[in-house]
């Protein structure tokens, strides 16, 4: 039987995206600058897809109880997380499947933003 894991809520702010850009090296301005984001047809500043996947990995690390146990993690970036000036909450939830892998959902305003997000923990 698949086991539902307790969900978590994480706040995403533009300050965090600026910090993530510095930490990751991805300085694409669509993740920091409202004007640039709108100029390329986006509804506003959007989180890096990899930022959202990093939140999924944070959740799995919290479920595992320690960092370093994820053997694999991946997802499709299906919808952007739009981050207004005041920030936005994302809901992260997981299901432990019979094979031990963890299926993760990340939703923002009720919309799933990652597709097929699955993590496998090492034994």
């Amino acid at each position: 039987m698949a086991e539902q894991l307790a969900p978590a809520t994480y706040r995403v702010t533009r300050e965090a995206l600026v910090a993530y850009a510095a930490a990751s090296g991805d300085h694409n301005p669509i993740h920091q600058d409202e004007e640039v984001a709108r100029s390329v047809g986006l509804p506003g500043v959007i989180a890096h897809g990899m930022y959202t996947l990093a939140l999924a990995a944070r959740y799995v690390d919290e479920v595992a109880g320690e960092p370093g146990r994820i053997a694999s993690i991946g997802a499709k970036f299906t919808k952007p997380v739009v981050v207004p000036a005041e920030g936005v909450d994302v809901e992260v939830a997981g299901t432990r499947k019979d094979d031990g892998s963890i299926a993760v959902t990340v939703t923002c305003d009720g919309v799933a933003v990652l597709g097929r997000c699955v993590a496998v923990l090492r034994a």
């Binding site: 993530y20 897809g49 996947l53 090492r122």
Partner: protein, 132 residues
């Protein structure tokens, strides 16, 4: 971009030194706290992003026309502070759909001994432009 780039591997950039400070900055950006130990599973995007930029520069593609469609990391072991990582990016596949090129890349992340640490696979969508 066309089929001719499939199978091409791009020269690695300068090695990436993993430090407690670089891991802490990455962890704290996600709102978590870092008490030492392994880096998060998606941390290898740091050198892998550099490798992607090298690839895009080599093919004269502007980052603004790329959408990151998917990403996966498979680890042989966790990344830890003290690691010195090098990334070799290979174009694994390319499909053209409606003028957009869907590029699959495989990035092999190795440590200072040349041992494989993890493999990143990415799907990059190159949006058609006026000159496409």
């Amino acid at each position: 971009m066309d089929d001719s780039i499939v199978g091409r591997t791009y020269p690695p950039g300068p090695p990436h030194e993993v430090t407690e400070a670089s891991v802490r900055a990455f962890v704290e950006a996600t709102g978590a706290s870092y008490a030492g130990g392994p880096a998060p599973a998606t941390y290898p995007i740091v050198p892998a992003f550099d490798a992607m930029m090298t690839f895009l520069d080599a093919e004269q593609v502007d980052l603004s026309r790329i959408v990151h469609g998917a990403q996966e990391f498979r680890h042989e072991r966790p990344v830890v502070p003290g690691d010195v990582l090098t990334v070799a990016l290979t174009v694994a596949s390319l499909r053209v759909i409606g003028g957009n090129a869907i590029v699959g890349t495989r990035s092999e992340v190795t440590d200072a001994d040349g041992a494989l640490v993890c493999t990143g696979t990415a799907t990059l969508v190159h949006r058609a432009g006026e000159e496409a």
